[in-house]
Subunit: 386 residues, 2 copies
Amino acid sequence: MQYASWMETLGEGFIGEILKAAQNPSMISFAGGLPALELFPDQELQRCFQRVFEEQGKSALQYAQTAGHPQLREWIAQQHKRNGKPVSMEEIVVTTGSQQGLSLLAQTFLDPGDVVFVETPTYLGAIQAFQGFRAQMIMIPCDEQGIIPEELETLLKEVTPKFLYIIPNYQNPSGKVMGLERRRELLRVAQAYDLLVVEDNPYGELRFEGEGYPDLIDLGENVIYLGTFSKVLAPGLRVGYVVADTDIIDHLCLTKEGVDLHSNNLTQRAVFEFLKEGLLPAHIQKLRALYKERRGAMVEAIENYLGDDVDMIVPSGGLFLWARFKKINNSFDYVQETIRQNVLYVPGALFYPDGRVTSEVRLNYSCSTPEMIEEGVQRLARAMQA
Amino acid sequence: MQYASWMETLGEGFIGEILKAAQNPSMISFAGGLPALELFPDQELQRCFQRVFEEQGKSALQYAQTAGHPQLREWIAQQHKRNGKPVSMEEIVVTTGSQQGLSLLAQTFLDPGDVVFVETPTYLGAIQAFQGFRAQMIMIPCDEQGIIPEELETLLKEVTPKFLYIIPNYQNPSGKVMGLERRRELLRVAQAYDLLVVEDNPYGELRFEGEGYPDLIDLGENVIYLGTFSKVLAPGLRVGYVVADTDIIDHLCLTKEGVDLHSNNLTQRAVFEFLKEGLLPAHIQKLRALYKERRGAMVEAIENYLGDDVDMIVPSGGLFLWARFKKINNSFDYVQETIRQNVLYVPGALFYPDGRVTSEVRLNYSCSTPEMIEEGVQRLARAMQA
């Protein structure tokens, strides 16, 4: 038995491990990226599924178009602009979550060894998706607003990547936001070097304070946008999408044909019903309020129980808080100790394609109550003293 | 903009074209592989989805395990044997249809240029999946029972493929069935050369006459089995699975993590409800009766309207009839003529990785009434005279 050589570059499937460990009821998990279960609009969704069965019945169970359910694509198109202009449904492909968007992009653009630029640190699911297509990832230095345009430009003079992958809003894992002027500078550099920018925006709507900024795809050329309903609706439905020019969408569809033919037909129609009813904005308001409260609880608990032992970036939205444990050297090795204390985080090393040793950790607050967050941070503090 | 080099090897996305053309209401399409819409058990499925919402509610909307919903995996495991022994749920991964199974296998096993053995002809979706990972496909000569073991052995002395891909029951596109003795011979050769066999079985339950044979995975070692609920339940739900030893399943899950994290949680649970209720066997009986009638209608219409102009293989199950138009040289070029007559088939060339010129066509009879089948074959006959 001989597997493909890229599999040797993989770790132990940590995301899968997280999803499993998160199912142990005595574990307080700050590790996953799970939305708050209690806010899932299950009754509304139940009605939406029922309506699809009653009104569209059997046709919702048949094979469907690779690019996605036309009405859903149309709805998504209306939410976006590309370089200031309206988007048409031909510029949309529906994917099974943003994760599939990442994987389709990698498969569609990358030859083995091709270079992809990423933020420092970057989303570990993106690292996995790109590894699956033998990418060579190069980390671009970042400051508190993300990618530093001058550093990007310096590297672009030496290397030609297939694309740059960034999360401009409440970045995973760092929680950072890219400001408007930075977005414009980044796009100026991208345009000058004909650089394709992949903008991943799962958390943009989950804003606690401050203003929101326009999407990169709205501000310039050469941007591919990844959207998802996982964080604002329900991840178990696996509905995301890509916005890009039609030539790129057509190529992504060709790839998707070989990968899974098309996304779940019934689910796409039910999600469209939910959106059509206009149920999303009020739901997002609920999410913002709850996550803001939980973000506050985590910041407070860290100040109270870990205090000067930790540096943290207080996020103004999203699901994650990025912190550095000053008293340890390697947060990866430390996972075993915290698991003994029944608390889980994701070690920072997993967000660096080079797997560097770091004392950073990613802490998720969206799926724990303030009480659980306080208890969990106390457990972290206990682990720290062990 | 530079796409990955493998994309240049692709045709024009014919499966996607089929799915689109099939939506033109005046077209009689023998081209798709669509199950009969009118038999979809939409009311039973509606109840199953409703029950999941009522009894499991929000947990069905959360992120879930990469390998699939445990109860569904357990149910699937009980339907199969591996080399005569019971299968455990650890030997199952749930996929978004068999197409994803093919793509995951290709990604997990193939380095660029690796060789895959296929039947002559073979399923065009498999060709697409394998192309997506830069496979070199070699066609093994076939007779009326599929792969000829002696020919396979001859090639194995020269070339070492990563795996052999076959559809032993009502093969797509040829409709052929591999008999029991042939299955055993094939596995003897596979064992002698340590050859991995990928057994794809979407149509095995759709038997019109004759006896069914044991699955290859039940008869020997080194078999990976692809199953799906697309043809016996509903393709729009995108639920399939892979059965293999746990090491292979673990590797497929690592790949799947990067590809889409996991399959639709809600849908997996609803499909499990359907299966648990024992609704599948009676439904399969209905499918067999309907498809047998339609197969008969197509054979009769071909005899009546095309007669000696056509050679065909009368299938004893499945969805497809494979035929050769004696009066034309290239059924690919002929598509435009038949589209003018509002009838669609898949030209045989698409089922050969070398894209050879052939007068063969694949005709699907599952989603057309006997009247439509008669009318469609008449249109084919008219196209032939044009």
